[in-house]
């Protein structure tokens, strides 16, 4: 069996022949780590991309963090005019704060006493990466992608979130060019808090809509 076939058809530790270039005890991750490095080096050698291009994108990726996204929420909670702009045109509003959206557009959906919003991408893993960074494993999992659209309340319970039965739950399937951010309700008892204090209680999970912020 060549390394070629091994890659294409899946991995099985129970064979006793060698793959040229990989020993049977190289684990799956080691194999893919090698593949990623190999691809990168080949593409750079061939002049398809430069090492600089990759490095710049990696730096941008590393600069993304949910704590940055939390600042958007905190600002919306303290600045009603900004909140209005955020809900009317999410892309433009977060642009004011320096968040680029690329080719996508941002829609910010507001949680109220009547409505709870939850975000999923059933087809792949579309996610507001420039605002929240990389999505968590669960967001990309079959369990979440399959169940969020059909049994949102059951999924929310798994995250420890229980909603009143008469509250409207809106699930947004982020399946095309829009990206979504949930604007959670400001928790009771946080009136008068500074933006910094408020941002500290806004978690990534609250901005995806699976939990509620706690004061």
């Amino acid at each position: 069996m060549t390394t070629d076939e091994r890659g294409a058809h899946g991995h099985d530790h129970d064979h006793d022949h060698d793959h040229p270039g990989t020993t049977p005890d190289v684990n799956e991750t080691g194999y893919y780590e090698l593949m990623a490095e190999a691809m990168k080096e080949l593409l750079i050698e061939k002049g398809v991309v430069s090492a600089d291009d990759v490095r710049r994108n990696l730096e941008f990726l590393d600069s993304r963090d949910p704590a940055e996204g939390a600042k958007i929420i905190a600002r919306a909670w303290t600045d009603p005019a900004f909140k209005k702009r955020l809900l009317e045109d999410g892309t433009k509003a977060v642009g004011e704060m320096g968040f680029p959206m690329g080719d996508a557009e941002l829609i910010v959906v507001e949680n109220t006493k009547d409505v709870h919003n939850m975000i999923v991408c059933t087809l792949c893993s579309c996610y507001p990466r420039t605002i929240l960074g990389l999505p968590p494993d669960w967001y990309k999992s079959k369990s979440y992608r399959a169940r969020a659209v059909v049994e949102p309340r059951s999924v929310l319970k798994e995250f420890g979130t229980e909603l009143p039965g008469d509250k409207t739950v809106r699930v947004h399937d982020s399946n095309a060019d829009m990206r979504y951010l949930v604007l959670p309700e400001q928790p009771a008892g946080t009136e008068g808090w500074s933006e910094e204090q408020l941002a500290a209680i806004v978690t990534r999970d609250a901005m995806v809509g699976v939990t509620l912020p706690q004061a």
Binding site: E105, I107, T122, L123, V149, V150, E151, P152, R153, S154, G165, D166, K167, T168, V169, R170, V171, H172, D173, S174, N175, A176, D177, M178
Partner: protein
């Protein structure tokens, strides 16, 4: 000239063409209401195969009630599923 207006009742085509489509299986053939016009975007069904995706298609957010989607839905009758559908997947239903 936009093909659909906010509030229009629409049906998502019950079509199953092979290849890259951004209309999830679970909404095909279902009806909903246009919630907003999202803008014009290059057609992903063409971009996926190396075409340039033009002319752009109109993208709409369609709101579907969960009880329309799932026969045994456990939740509020007011719960919705909102998603983005390109114009060529939508048909307007009479008033």
């Amino acid at each position: 000239m936009m093909m659909f207006s906010v509030g229009d009742r629409v049906r998502i085509k019950d079509s199953h063409p092979p290849g890259h489509r951004r209309t999830p299986y679970y909404v095909r053939g279902k009806t909903g209401v246009v919630e907003r016009y999202c803008g014009d975007f290059k057609n992903p069904e063409e971009l996926a195969y190396g075409f340039d995706g033009t002319p752009k298609r109109e993208l709409y957010r369609v709101r579907i009630t969960q009880t329309e989607l799932w026969p045994d839905y456990e939740g509020s009758d007011s719960d919705t599923l909102d998603l983005e559908i390109y114009d060529h997947w939508l048909e307007k239903i009479g008033e």
